[in-house]
Symmetry: C2
Subunit: 210 residues, 2 copies
Protein backbone atom coordinates (compact mmCIF):
# COMPACT_ATOMS: atom_id res chain seq x y z
CA UNK A 1 0.00 0.00 0.00
CA UNK A 2 2.86 2.35 0.70
CA UNK A 3 5.50 1.04 -1.66
CA UNK A 4 7.52 3.48 -3.67
CA UNK A 5 5.64 2.39 -6.78
CA UNK A 6 2.30 3.00 -5.09
CA UNK A 7 1.59 6.24 -6.82
CA UNK A 8 1.65 4.65 -10.24
CA UNK A 9 -0.14 1.43 -9.39
CA UNK A 10 -3.26 0.73 -11.42
CA UNK A 11 -2.48 3.23 -14.12
CA UNK A 12 -3.55 1.69 -17.43
CA UNK A 13 -0.95 1.29 -20.16
CA UNK A 14 -1.15 4.12 -22.67
CA UNK A 15 -2.48 6.65 -20.18
CA UNK A 16 0.31 9.16 -19.61
CA UNK A 17 0.85 10.08 -15.98
CA UNK A 18 0.38 13.77 -16.80
CA UNK A 19 -3.16 13.14 -17.99
CA UNK A 20 -3.96 11.32 -14.78
CA UNK A 21 -2.38 14.06 -12.70
CA UNK A 22 -4.33 16.73 -14.56
CA UNK A 23 -7.63 14.94 -14.06
CA UNK A 24 -6.89 14.43 -10.37
CA UNK A 25 -6.01 18.11 -10.00
CA UNK A 26 -9.12 19.14 -11.94
CA UNK A 27 -11.37 17.03 -9.73
CA UNK A 28 -9.88 18.59 -6.63
CA UNK A 29 -10.20 22.13 -7.93
CA UNK A 30 -13.72 21.74 -9.30
CA UNK A 31 -14.84 20.13 -6.07
CA UNK A 32 -13.18 22.78 -3.93
CA UNK A 33 -13.90 25.88 -5.96
CA UNK A 34 -16.78 25.03 -8.25
CA UNK A 35 -16.74 25.53 -11.98
CA UNK A 36 -16.40 29.33 -11.85
CA UNK A 37 -13.39 29.68 -9.72
CA UNK A 38 -11.33 26.73 -10.83
CA UNK A 39 -8.83 27.78 -13.51
CA UNK A 40 -6.76 25.92 -16.07
CA UNK A 41 -3.78 27.76 -14.64
CA UNK A 42 -4.57 26.62 -11.10
CA UNK A 43 -5.23 23.04 -12.18
CA UNK A 44 -2.00 22.97 -14.17
CA UNK A 45 -0.05 24.31 -11.21
CA UNK A 46 -1.57 21.70 -8.93
CA UNK A 47 -0.75 18.95 -11.42
CA UNK A 48 2.77 20.29 -11.88
CA UNK A 49 2.42 20.78 -15.62
CA UNK A 50 2.29 23.69 -18.04
CA UNK A 51 -1.20 25.14 -18.71
CA UNK A 52 -0.62 24.56 -22.42
CA UNK A 53 -0.42 20.83 -21.77
CA UNK A 54 -3.83 20.91 -20.06
CA UNK A 55 -5.29 22.68 -23.08
CA UNK A 56 -3.55 20.23 -25.38
CA UNK A 57 -4.99 17.18 -23.63
CA UNK A 58 -8.42 18.46 -22.66
CA UNK A 59 -9.19 21.61 -24.64
CA UNK A 60 -11.23 24.23 -22.80
CA UNK A 61 -12.06 24.33 -19.12
CA UNK A 62 -15.50 23.04 -20.08
CA UNK A 63 -13.99 20.01 -21.78
CA UNK A 64 -11.77 19.36 -18.80
CA UNK A 65 -14.74 19.67 -16.44
CA UNK A 66 -16.65 17.02 -18.38
CA UNK A 67 -13.61 14.76 -18.46
CA UNK A 68 -13.06 15.20 -14.74
CA UNK A 69 -16.71 14.44 -13.98
CA UNK A 70 -16.50 11.24 -15.92
CA UNK A 71 -13.67 9.83 -13.90
CA UNK A 72 -14.70 9.42 -10.28
CA UNK A 73 -18.15 8.10 -10.99
CA UNK A 74 -17.42 6.35 -14.26
CA UNK A 75 -21.12 5.68 -14.89
CA UNK A 76 -20.41 3.53 -17.91
CA UNK A 77 -18.40 1.14 -15.76
CA UNK A 78 -20.76 1.29 -12.79
CA UNK A 79 -23.82 0.74 -14.95
CA UNK A 80 -22.08 -2.05 -16.87
CA UNK A 81 -22.04 -3.93 -13.57
CA UNK A 82 -25.69 -3.20 -12.78
CA UNK A 83 -27.65 -3.19 -16.01
CA UNK A 84 -27.13 -6.78 -17.19
CA UNK A 85 -29.53 -9.20 -15.56
CA UNK A 86 -33.21 -9.54 -14.84
CA UNK A 87 -35.07 -6.32 -15.63
CA UNK A 88 -37.56 -7.31 -12.91
CA UNK A 89 -34.94 -6.46 -10.27
CA UNK A 90 -33.19 -3.61 -12.06
CA UNK A 91 -34.79 -0.98 -9.82
CA UNK A 92 -33.40 -2.64 -6.73
CA UNK A 93 -29.95 -3.08 -8.26
CA UNK A 94 -29.81 0.58 -9.25
CA UNK A 95 -30.86 1.89 -5.84
CA UNK A 96 -28.44 -0.39 -4.05
CA UNK A 97 -25.50 0.44 -6.28
CA UNK A 98 -26.27 4.14 -6.14
CA UNK A 99 -26.26 4.09 -2.34
CA UNK A 100 -23.10 2.00 -2.32
CA UNK A 101 -21.24 4.46 -4.51
CA UNK A 102 -22.17 7.44 -2.39
CA UNK A 103 -21.43 5.66 0.85
CA UNK A 104 -18.12 4.05 -0.02
CA UNK A 105 -16.58 6.94 -1.91
CA UNK A 106 -18.67 9.74 -0.55
CA UNK A 107 -15.58 11.95 -0.34
CA UNK A 108 -14.44 12.17 -3.95
CA UNK A 109 -17.71 11.33 -5.66
CA UNK A 110 -19.95 13.25 -3.32
CA UNK A 111 -17.87 16.39 -3.63
CA UNK A 112 -17.73 16.09 -7.40
CA UNK A 113 -21.47 15.61 -7.75
CA UNK A 114 -22.07 18.57 -5.47
CA UNK A 115 -19.65 20.69 -7.45
CA UNK A 116 -21.55 19.64 -10.55
CA UNK A 117 -24.92 20.66 -9.07
CA UNK A 118 -23.47 23.91 -7.79
CA UNK A 119 -22.22 24.70 -11.26
CA UNK A 120 -25.49 23.68 -12.86
CA UNK A 121 -27.39 26.10 -10.65
CA UNK A 122 -25.17 29.03 -11.55
CA UNK A 123 -24.10 28.62 -15.17
CA UNK A 124 -26.00 27.62 -18.23
CA UNK A 125 -22.78 26.30 -19.77
CA UNK A 126 -22.21 24.06 -16.80
CA UNK A 127 -25.86 23.07 -16.68
CA UNK A 128 -25.67 22.04 -20.30
CA UNK A 129 -22.54 20.00 -19.62
CA UNK A 130 -24.08 18.26 -16.67
CA UNK A 131 -27.21 17.63 -18.69
CA UNK A 132 -25.27 16.22 -21.64
CA UNK A 133 -23.09 14.16 -19.36
CA UNK A 134 -25.98 12.72 -17.39
CA UNK A 135 -28.08 12.10 -20.48
CA UNK A 136 -25.31 10.42 -22.43
CA UNK A 137 -23.37 8.49 -19.82
CA UNK A 138 -26.02 7.56 -17.28
CA UNK A 139 -29.61 7.84 -18.48
CA UNK A 140 -28.79 6.88 -22.05
CA UNK A 141 -27.20 3.63 -20.91
CA UNK A 142 -30.19 2.75 -18.77
CA UNK A 143 -32.57 3.57 -21.62
CA UNK A 144 -30.63 1.23 -23.93
CA UNK A 145 -31.44 -1.85 -21.88
CA UNK A 146 -35.16 -1.12 -21.49
CA UNK A 147 -37.33 -3.10 -23.86
CA UNK A 148 -40.25 -0.76 -23.23
CA UNK A 149 -41.86 2.27 -24.87
CA UNK A 150 -40.45 5.69 -23.87
CA UNK A 151 -37.12 4.39 -22.56
CA UNK A 152 -35.67 7.90 -22.20
CA UNK A 153 -38.61 9.10 -20.14
CA UNK A 154 -38.26 6.00 -17.96
CA UNK A 155 -34.56 6.50 -17.40
CA UNK A 156 -35.09 10.18 -16.59
CA UNK A 157 -37.83 9.40 -14.08
CA UNK A 158 -35.52 6.90 -12.39
CA UNK A 159 -32.70 9.42 -12.39
CA UNK A 160 -34.93 12.07 -10.83
CA UNK A 161 -35.67 9.79 -7.89
CA UNK A 162 -32.05 8.78 -7.43
CA UNK A 163 -30.80 12.37 -7.38
CA UNK A 164 -33.59 13.33 -4.97
CA UNK A 165 -32.58 10.46 -2.71
CA UNK A 166 -28.95 11.60 -2.85
CA UNK A 167 -29.89 15.17 -1.95
CA UNK A 168 -32.13 14.10 0.91
CA UNK A 169 -29.64 11.60 2.35
CA UNK A 170 -26.23 13.11 1.66
CA UNK A 171 -26.66 16.83 1.05
CA UNK A 172 -29.59 18.24 3.03
CA UNK A 173 -29.52 15.14 5.28
CA UNK A 174 -33.20 15.08 6.07
CA UNK A 175 -34.22 12.58 8.71
CA UNK A 176 -35.09 9.76 8.76
CA UNK A 177 -33.62 9.27 5.28
CA UNK A 178 -30.18 10.53 6.31
CA UNK A 179 -29.60 7.75 8.83
CA UNK A 180 -31.91 5.01 7.53
CA UNK A 181 -30.21 1.70 6.84
CA UNK A 182 -29.61 0.74 3.25
CA UNK A 183 -32.11 -2.13 3.28
CA UNK A 184 -34.92 0.19 4.36
CA UNK A 185 -34.10 2.64 1.60
CA UNK A 186 -33.85 -0.12 -0.99
CA UNK A 187 -37.25 -1.44 0.07
CA UNK A 188 -38.75 2.06 -0.13
CA UNK A 189 -37.22 3.18 -3.41
CA UNK A 190 -36.77 0.02 -5.49
CA UNK A 191 -40.51 -0.32 -6.30
CA UNK A 192 -40.53 3.29 -7.50
CA UNK A 193 -37.58 2.74 -9.81
CA UNK A 194 -39.06 -0.54 -10.97
CA UNK A 195 -42.33 1.07 -11.98
CA UNK A 196 -40.52 3.87 -13.80
CA UNK A 197 -38.32 1.42 -15.68
CA UNK A 198 -40.76 -1.36 -16.48
CA UNK A 199 -44.28 -0.48 -15.41
CA UNK A 200 -47.07 1.08 -17.46
CA UNK A 201 -46.67 4.82 -18.01
CA UNK A 202 -48.92 7.47 -19.56
CA UNK A 203 -48.08 7.83 -23.23
CA UNK A 204 -46.99 4.20 -23.66
CA UNK A 205 -49.86 3.88 -26.13
CA UNK A 206 -51.08 6.75 -28.29
CA UNK A 207 -54.18 8.18 -26.66
CA UNK A 208 -57.39 7.79 -28.64
CA UNK A 209 -58.69 11.15 -27.52
CA UNK A 210 -55.90 13.42 -28.69
CA UNK B 1 -53.89 47.83 -8.52
CA UNK B 2 -51.80 50.95 -8.97
CA UNK B 3 -53.33 53.23 -6.40
CA UNK B 4 -51.08 55.31 -4.24
CA UNK B 5 -51.83 52.97 -1.37
CA UNK B 6 -50.87 49.95 -3.46
CA UNK B 7 -47.50 49.49 -1.86
CA UNK B 8 -49.02 48.98 1.54
CA UNK B 9 -51.96 46.85 0.51
CA UNK B 10 -52.04 43.42 2.08
CA UNK B 11 -49.42 44.27 4.65
CA UNK B 12 -50.68 42.82 7.93
CA UNK B 13 -51.19 45.17 10.82
CA UNK B 14 -48.18 45.07 13.10
CA UNK B 15 -45.70 44.27 10.33
CA UNK B 16 -43.59 47.38 9.94
CA UNK B 17 -42.70 48.27 6.35
CA UNK B 18 -39.00 48.10 7.23
CA UNK B 19 -39.30 44.41 8.05
CA UNK B 20 -40.94 43.75 4.71
CA UNK B 21 -38.31 45.79 2.89
CA UNK B 22 -35.51 43.93 4.66
CA UNK B 23 -36.95 40.53 3.75
CA UNK B 24 -37.41 41.58 0.15
CA UNK B 25 -33.84 42.86 0.02
CA UNK B 26 -32.56 39.66 1.67
CA UNK B 27 -34.35 37.46 -0.83
CA UNK B 28 -32.85 39.40 -3.70
CA UNK B 29 -29.34 39.28 -2.30
CA UNK B 30 -29.43 35.61 -1.29
CA UNK B 31 -30.83 34.66 -4.67
CA UNK B 32 -28.27 36.75 -6.53
CA UNK B 33 -25.18 36.15 -4.44
CA UNK B 34 -25.81 32.97 -2.47
CA UNK B 35 -25.45 32.69 1.26
CA UNK B 36 -21.71 33.38 1.37
CA UNK B 37 -21.55 36.60 -0.45
CA UNK B 38 -24.71 38.28 0.69
CA UNK B 39 -24.02 40.59 3.63
CA UNK B 40 -26.16 42.23 6.28
CA UNK B 41 -24.59 45.51 5.22
CA UNK B 42 -25.53 44.96 1.59
CA UNK B 43 -29.06 43.87 2.44
CA UNK B 44 -29.52 46.85 4.73
CA UNK B 45 -28.28 49.21 2.02
CA UNK B 46 -30.65 47.71 -0.50
CA UNK B 47 -33.55 47.99 1.95
CA UNK B 48 -32.57 51.57 2.79
CA UNK B 49 -32.17 50.88 6.51
CA UNK B 50 -29.34 50.80 9.01
CA UNK B 51 -27.57 47.41 9.38
CA UNK B 52 -28.31 47.58 13.10
CA UNK B 53 -32.03 47.47 12.33
CA UNK B 54 -31.55 44.27 10.32
CA UNK B 55 -29.73 42.71 13.27
CA UNK B 56 -32.41 43.97 15.61
CA UNK B 57 -35.27 42.41 13.62
CA UNK B 58 -33.62 39.23 12.37
CA UNK B 59 -30.47 38.56 14.37
CA UNK B 60 -27.62 36.98 12.45
CA UNK B 61 -27.33 36.53 8.72
CA UNK B 62 -28.29 32.90 9.29
CA UNK B 63 -31.54 33.94 11.01
CA UNK B 64 -32.30 36.37 8.22
CA UNK B 65 -31.63 33.68 5.61
CA UNK B 66 -34.15 31.37 7.25
CA UNK B 67 -36.70 34.16 7.51
CA UNK B 68 -36.19 35.09 3.87
CA UNK B 69 -36.53 31.48 2.75
CA UNK B 70 -39.84 31.18 4.47
CA UNK B 71 -41.42 34.03 2.57
CA UNK B 72 -41.46 33.36 -1.17
CA UNK B 73 -42.49 29.74 -0.92
CA UNK B 74 -44.58 30.02 2.19
CA UNK B 75 -44.94 26.25 2.44
CA UNK B 76 -47.36 26.52 5.33
CA UNK B 77 -49.78 28.47 3.18
CA UNK B 78 -49.21 26.36 0.06
CA UNK B 79 -49.63 23.12 1.96
CA UNK B 80 -52.68 24.44 3.77
CA UNK B 81 -54.33 24.58 0.35
CA UNK B 82 -53.22 21.08 -0.64
CA UNK B 83 -53.25 18.88 2.43
CA UNK B 84 -56.95 18.98 3.36
CA UNK B 85 -59.01 16.52 1.38
CA UNK B 86 -58.95 12.89 0.39
CA UNK B 87 -55.64 11.25 1.28
CA UNK B 88 -56.20 8.92 -1.67
CA UNK B 89 -55.44 11.80 -4.04
CA UNK B 90 -52.88 13.64 -1.92
CA UNK B 91 -49.97 12.44 -4.07
CA UNK B 92 -51.52 13.93 -7.16
CA UNK B 93 -52.40 17.20 -5.44
CA UNK B 94 -48.84 17.60 -4.16
CA UNK B 95 -47.19 16.94 -7.53
CA UNK B 96 -49.57 19.27 -9.31
CA UNK B 97 -49.18 22.07 -6.81
CA UNK B 98 -45.41 21.66 -6.72
CA UNK B 99 -45.19 21.96 -10.51
CA UNK B 100 -47.58 24.94 -10.46
CA UNK B 101 -45.46 26.81 -7.95
CA UNK B 102 -42.25 26.31 -9.90
CA UNK B 103 -43.88 27.18 -13.21
CA UNK B 104 -45.84 30.24 -12.21
CA UNK B 105 -43.28 31.88 -10.00
CA UNK B 106 -40.19 30.19 -11.29
CA UNK B 107 -38.26 33.45 -11.07
CA UNK B 108 -38.43 34.29 -7.40
CA UNK B 109 -39.07 30.84 -6.00
CA UNK B 110 -36.79 28.99 -8.36
CA UNK B 111 -33.90 31.30 -7.65
CA UNK B 112 -34.47 31.11 -3.91
CA UNK B 113 -34.62 27.32 -3.90
CA UNK B 114 -31.48 27.17 -6.00
CA UNK B 115 -29.72 29.61 -3.70
CA UNK B 116 -30.79 27.39 -0.81
CA UNK B 117 -29.37 24.26 -2.47
CA UNK B 118 -26.19 26.09 -3.41
CA UNK B 119 -25.75 27.13 0.17
CA UNK B 120 -26.56 23.66 1.47
CA UNK B 121 -23.82 22.18 -0.68
CA UNK B 122 -21.18 24.58 0.57
CA UNK B 123 -21.94 25.31 4.22
CA UNK B 124 -22.91 23.08 7.05
CA UNK B 125 -24.64 26.04 8.72
CA UNK B 126 -26.74 26.64 5.66
CA UNK B 127 -27.36 22.92 5.21
CA UNK B 128 -28.66 22.75 8.74
CA UNK B 129 -30.92 25.72 8.14
CA UNK B 130 -32.31 24.26 4.96
CA UNK B 131 -32.77 20.93 6.72
CA UNK B 132 -34.57 22.52 9.66
CA UNK B 133 -36.67 24.68 7.42
CA UNK B 134 -37.69 21.83 5.13
CA UNK B 135 -38.30 19.45 8.00
CA UNK B 136 -40.38 21.89 10.02
CA UNK B 137 -42.30 23.87 7.42
CA UNK B 138 -42.80 21.35 4.64
CA UNK B 139 -42.27 17.72 5.59
CA UNK B 140 -43.55 18.17 9.13
CA UNK B 141 -46.86 19.54 7.87
CA UNK B 142 -47.30 16.68 5.45
CA UNK B 143 -46.47 14.16 8.17
CA UNK B 144 -49.12 15.70 10.43
CA UNK B 145 -51.97 14.78 8.11
CA UNK B 146 -50.88 11.18 7.50
CA UNK B 147 -52.80 8.68 9.56
CA UNK B 148 -50.15 6.04 8.91
CA UNK B 149 -47.12 4.58 10.66
CA UNK B 150 -43.79 6.34 10.02
CA UNK B 151 -45.29 9.64 8.85
CA UNK B 152 -41.92 11.41 8.87
CA UNK B 153 -40.30 8.75 6.69
CA UNK B 154 -43.27 9.00 4.33
CA UNK B 155 -43.07 12.76 4.06
CA UNK B 156 -39.30 12.63 3.52
CA UNK B 157 -39.66 10.03 0.75
CA UNK B 158 -42.24 12.23 -0.96
CA UNK B 159 -39.99 15.26 -0.57
CA UNK B 160 -37.05 13.39 -2.07
CA UNK B 161 -39.04 12.68 -5.23
CA UNK B 162 -40.36 16.23 -5.49
CA UNK B 163 -36.90 17.79 -5.19
CA UNK B 164 -35.53 15.28 -7.70
CA UNK B 165 -38.30 16.20 -10.11
CA UNK B 166 -37.54 19.90 -9.63
CA UNK B 167 -33.84 19.35 -10.30
CA UNK B 168 -34.49 17.26 -13.39
CA UNK B 169 -37.11 19.63 -14.85
CA UNK B 170 -35.96 23.08 -13.81
CA UNK B 171 -32.26 22.92 -12.95
CA UNK B 172 -30.47 20.29 -15.02
CA UNK B 173 -33.40 20.27 -17.49
CA UNK B 174 -33.05 16.66 -18.53
CA UNK B 175 -35.26 15.63 -21.42
CA UNK B 176 -37.96 14.53 -21.76
CA UNK B 177 -38.83 15.68 -18.22
CA UNK B 178 -37.84 19.29 -18.91
CA UNK B 179 -40.48 19.81 -21.58
CA UNK B 180 -43.08 17.18 -20.66
CA UNK B 181 -46.58 18.52 -20.12
CA UNK B 182 -47.85 18.77 -16.56
CA UNK B 183 -50.45 16.03 -16.98
CA UNK B 184 -47.81 13.54 -18.09
CA UNK B 185 -45.65 14.34 -15.09
CA UNK B 186 -48.59 14.16 -12.71
CA UNK B 187 -49.50 10.74 -14.12
CA UNK B 188 -45.90 9.55 -13.74
CA UNK B 189 -45.16 10.92 -10.29
CA UNK B 190 -48.49 10.92 -8.43
CA UNK B 191 -48.53 7.13 -7.91
CA UNK B 192 -45.02 7.33 -6.46
CA UNK B 193 -46.02 10.02 -3.99
CA UNK B 194 -49.22 8.19 -3.19
CA UNK B 195 -47.38 5.00 -2.31
CA UNK B 196 -44.89 6.89 -0.15
CA UNK B 197 -47.66 8.72 1.70
CA UNK B 198 -50.26 6.00 2.12
CA UNK B 199 -48.97 2.65 0.87
CA UNK B 200 -47.31 -0.13 2.82
CA UNK B 201 -43.66 0.54 3.68
CA UNK B 202 -40.94 -1.57 5.26
CA UNK B 203 -40.90 -0.96 8.99
CA UNK B 204 -44.64 -0.27 9.23
CA UNK B 205 -44.81 -3.33 11.44
CA UNK B 206 -41.98 -4.36 13.76
CA UNK B 207 -40.11 -7.17 12.06
CA UNK B 208 -40.25 -10.52 13.84
CA UNK B 209 -36.69 -11.37 12.84
CA UNK B 210 -34.80 -8.45 14.32
Amino acid sequence: MTTEAGQRRGRPAGSPPNREAILAAAREQFAERGYDNATIRGIAARAGVDPALVHHYYGTKADLFAAALRMPINPREVLAGVLPGDVATLGERLVRRFLDIWSVESGAIGETILGMLRSATTHEDAARMVREFVSREALGRIAEVLDMPQPHLRAALAGSQLIGLALARFVVRVEPIATADVETLVACYAPTLQRYLAGPLPGDQPSKGS
